[in-house]
């Protein structure tokens, strides 16, 4: 196979498109091994724009790990924006890597990172742009294998027609095993018929799901079973879990892009997994147990990363960074490091909601004290018990008080609308909380800004809410209007909401079965790429495609599932007992919370016991002053402490 760059053909096209720097690569830290017959070539694709895809840590980690091996090499690609796509198609130039601008079809594997369902049509588009048949069944030995990893693969079925193999769980170790199998296939010359054989071999790798090795039986609209077609193919695909993050200090050379991207800063992952047990949160459920990085390693990664990249901002990433055992020490270390001489700012995404957390934030945000974000998710204590986000009113108000009193002017609050058992009083509770926060702010600043951001809830596979029927567009719209009316005259609060129609499309893709693949293909053929971009999104395409294939939106999205129903992802295992999820669903309906098993006895969700792993957590006790249940008196959850009781404007406090 000729290894040649497409750059001379791409370069003239770049003069005609917006933001051409998206397509040039050249990032600091970008290093790829040379192509050669002894190396399996991986093209790692983030199926969204460069600005969103470049910072993705999962992709960067695999990029480094693969290029360090002597039997693999990896390059990166991102979905070209529509303007370049049109130029590429007109000039008959295929999808290319940004590293050396090689054609996608020249790689042995094209591997997608799936972080959100609305990119599914982009996946199909990228396969097509690569010059590869979009349906897996139409591919031959001359075509690359199409792989996918990332959180969305826990329900792989909607993409099963297009993807040859899915990777479930952490990718660090399994990419090596896949490389070995594909390497043999490559060495054997990819003879006719060999594609089936290599896929069969891959299906035996733990954590790999090859949809073509399974038969799907339906019973009318219902799913009867998904069963392996061969005895050596596993009936259930177990996720992969890296037991000890300390062995994987990646990325060692985080990419520094030449043009602006989201999260344009050094990112250091401090732990993986979360056992807070929020019932709506798929990320928390599928990444158990908690595996912390040693504090010392975090410190080294921060200081070396800053020195190498020249960034002046570092983010400590995880699903809830204030829960990291070493958080105070690490923060103090970064602030006091003389090399940083006060020029470096630190950000903690996904803050817990309490004053302790704000205290940490105030230490670090000495330079830019602009905005703080909290996610109470529910408007009333009752609904927060249902979703198991056990934040007491008191915790929220103390956090907000503490933020405004320490100089912040803007507070952003995230909420979900459409969660199970939600009544209008719960929805309106969002307005009450936001208004009270603005009121607290007015004690400290003339014009506090509180933003309440409301997302429509999409039930996700492998969570206790996987059986719940999602709210309709009409219902979500009605709830948003309730809030808009209620907050109309409140100047301190800005309400933002997600388009309920996009929430519907996400719902179709999230819990869809294999039949949804035709819908995705139709939406793509109708021009529906970049569906998470409102200017490109049109729910009409989704509705038309569902209707064309005789699939009911109500059945797929809005219907409550029963306990005995076969779910499309039952053959994929995140290690959670289905019984545990069902019991937790029932507990939710009883408004009963579950504590965090990091610091309280294990309730056997199945993960640690099933995989023989356990939490790697340095501290045996929950963080001092930490909210969300553990070690707290929860009988007062809905009570507002008198000292913090917000007062109506005009009434003396």
């Amino acid at each position: 196979m000729v290894h040649m760059t497409l750059w001379p053909r791409i370069e003239p096209l770049l003069a005609k498109v917006q933001k051409p720097a998206r397509y040039i690569g050249c990032e600091d830290g970008a290093r790829v091994a040379p192509p050669g017959p002894g190396r399996v070539g991986w093209l790692l694709v983030y199926p969204d724009t460069y600005e969103i895809g470049l910072p993705n840590q999962g992709l960067q980690i695999l990029y480094e790990i693969l290029n360090e091996r002597d039997d693999a090499r990896a390059e990166r690609a991102y979905a070209p924006w529509s303007d370049l796509e049109a130029e590429l198609r007109a000039a008959r130039v295929p999808l290319f890597s940004v590293d050396t601008h090689r054609p996608a079809g020249e790689f042995d594997l094209i591997a997608f990172n799936l972080s959100a369902e609305l990119v599914y049509t982009n996946v199909v588009n990228c396969i097509d742009l690569a010059g590869v048949p979009v349906r897996a069944a139409d591919r031959g030995p001359e075509h690359p294998l199409v792989a996918a990893g990332g959180h969305c693969t826990y329900n792989p079925e909607p993409l099963a027609d297009f993807v040859d193999l899915f990777v479930i769980g952490d990718g660090e170790e399994v990419v090596a095993e896949i490389t070995e199998v594909v390497g043999e296939w490559k060495a054997s010359g990819r003879t006719p018929g060999s594609r089936q054989a290599v896929l069969r071999e891959l299906s035996k790798v733990v954590g790999v799901y090859v949809p073509s090795m399974y038969d799907v039986e339906y019973d009318g609209p219902a799913l009867r079973a998904i069963t392996p077609r061969h005895p050596d193919v596993p009936a259930r695909v177990e996720k992969r879990t890296v037991a000890d993050l300390a062995e994987w200090p990646y990325p060692k050379r985080q990419l520094v892009p030449l043009t602006e991207v989201v999260h344009d800063r050094l990112n250091v992952e401090v732990f993986r997994g979360c056992t807070r047990g929020c019932r709506f949160c798929q990320a928390g459920m599928i990444t158990r147990p908690v595996r912390e990085r040693p504090a010392e390693q975090v410190r080294t990664m921060v200081s070396e990363g800053l020195k190498r990249t020249g960034y002046d901002e570092v983010s400590l990433t995880s699903l809830s960074t204030a829960d990291f055992s070493g958080i105070e020490g690490v923060v103090a270390g970064v602030i006091n490091d003389p090399v940083n001489c006060g020029q470096v700012s630190l950000s903690l995404p996904s803050l817990r909601v309490d004053a302790f957390t704000v205290g940490i934030a105030s230490q670090i945000q000495q330079v830019r004290r602009t905005g703080l974000t909290f996610a109470p998710e529910g408007g009333t204590w009752r609904i927060r018990q249902v979703i198991n986000k056990l934040i007491r009113e008191e915790d929220l108000y103390e956090a907000v008080e503490s933020a405004f009193s320490q100089g912040w002017r803007r507070v952003k609050l995230y909420f979900l609308a459409g969660v199970p058992t939600e009544q209008d009083v719960d929805t309106l509770g969002i307005a009450t909380l936001a208004r009270a926060c603005a009121e607290i702010g007015r004690r400290h600043t003339k014009s506090p800004q509180v933003t309440a951001s409301v997302g429509g809830f999409v039930p996700k596979p492998h969570t206790p809410f996987q059986w719940f029927g999602q709210n309709t567009v009409a219902e979500l719209t009605r709830k948003i209007n309730l809030l808009r009316d209620d907050l109309r005259r409140e100047r301190g609060v800005t309400l933002r909401w997600h388009d309920p129609k996009a929430t519907l499309a996400e719902g179709i893709a999230s819990r869809g079965d294999r039949r949804i693949g035709r819908v995705i293909e139709d939406v793509w053929r109708a021009g529906g790429t970049f569906q998470e971009w409102s200017e490109q999104f049109d729910i009409g395409r989704w509705e038309a495609a569902m209707a064309r294939h005789g699939l009911s939106i109500d059945w797929y999205v809005h219907r409550h599932r029963t306990e005995d129903e076969v779910l499309p992802w039952d053959h994929i295992s995140a290690g959670l007992h289905k019984d545990f999820l069902w019991d937790d669903w029932q507990a939710a309906l009883r408004e009963s919370g579950v504590p965090d098993c990091r610091w309280t006895p294990c309730y056997d969700c199945g993960v640690c016991t099933g995989y023989g792993i356990e939490h790697v957590v340095a501290s045996a006790v929950p963080p001092a002053g930490g909210s969300q249940g553990t070690g707290q008196d929860l009988t007062t959850g809905g009570r507002v402490p008198v000292a913090l009781l917000p007062t109506r404007a005009g009434v003396a406090s």
Binding site: A15, P20, A21, G25, C26, P34, T100, T309, V339, R369
Partner: protein, 273 residues
């Protein structure tokens, strides 16, 4: 202490914007721990001022920026150190201390020398139109300025315009365009000629002092080009940087610098080999 740097921007990085380049410099300063002065306030910015923005997509061996430092540093070797901290394709060519009271680049630069590659015209057309422009006493066009159309005579801003030549891609036109009092961009000149801009290459920026024309920093005899191995993915015919840089512009006669040998600027795909 104030230091002025001259740098080149060539190869794939030409597609980055002026703002992107500013951020590359900020990161490079931090990486080499240069004691740059910062503004006071909520979000401190390094005290750096750039000259005239290079259009996205254009290449140059004559970009400049001035930096305020909190303490004196040794200038020798600084250009090479910074080049190593910059992306492939951005080469810091020279550094010099700036005398107190020197004017800013924006104030002082009066013109630039360009090579422009134009498409959509054949050689005969291009030559006839260029000759027409040179002979004209005035050239009134309507162009966009800050979002609204403005009618201007652009002829005074065309300081020289060489006879168009067949280029490696399209027609090559060497010219010198004023930046003051009313500047003219390469794209605007190309539009006046009725062609389409393919690429532009800035060879020099000029300042006038004591009646003579100078470069803000002349190119030194040796330069601090990237050491990074980038021989792997040559960009192919027509895009050969080393060849391109040796061209002497037909206009702007004061250009008198040794050829700079830049490697083709591509990502270090060969760095493992």
């Amino acid at each position: 202490m104030k230091v002025r740097f001259r740098f080149a921007k060539q190869g794939k990085v030409r597609f980055t914007s002026h703002r992107d380049v500013a951020r590359m410099w900020e990161r490079a300063f931090r990486r080499v721990q240069l004691p740059v002065s910062y503004s006071a306030g909520f979000s401190p910015r390094p005290k750096v001022s750039f000259g005239l923005a290079l259009p996205t997509g254009a290449e140059s061996v004559a970009e400049y920026l001035d930096v305020d430092l909190t303490e004196a540093v040794v200038i020798d070797g600084l250009a090479a150190t910074l080049t190593a901290a910059m992306p492939v394709g951005v080469d810091v060519l020279a550094a010099g201390e700036l005398e107190a009271g020197s004017g800013s680049l924006q104030q002082e630069v009066t013109s630039c020398t360009w090579s422009i590659d134009v498409g959509g015209l054949d050689l005969g057309q291009a030559r006839a139109r260029a000759a027409g422009v040179v002979a004209a006493a005035e050239l009134v066009v309507t162009r966009e300025r800050k979002g609204s159309p403005v009618t201007d005579d652009i002829r005074p801003a065309i300081l020289s315009l060489a006879e168009p030549q067949p280029g490696s891609s399209g027609i090559r036109i060497d010219c010198e365009l004023a930046t003051q009092p009313r500047g003219l961009r390469p794209s605007e000149l190309v539009e006046a000629l009725g062609g389409g801009l393919l690429t532009a290459f800035r060879h020099a920026q000029w300042i006038e002092r004591d009646g003579a024309r100078w470069e803000p920093i002349p190119l030194p005899a040796t330069d601090a080009t990237h050491e990074k191995d980038a021989t792997h993915d040559r960009s192919g015919p027509g895009l050969d940087r080393a060849h391109r840089d040796t061209r002497t512009p037909a206009t702007g006669g004061a250009v008198d610098h040794p050829a700079v040998d830049h490697p083709a600027a591509t990502v270090g795909s060969a760095s493992f080999s």
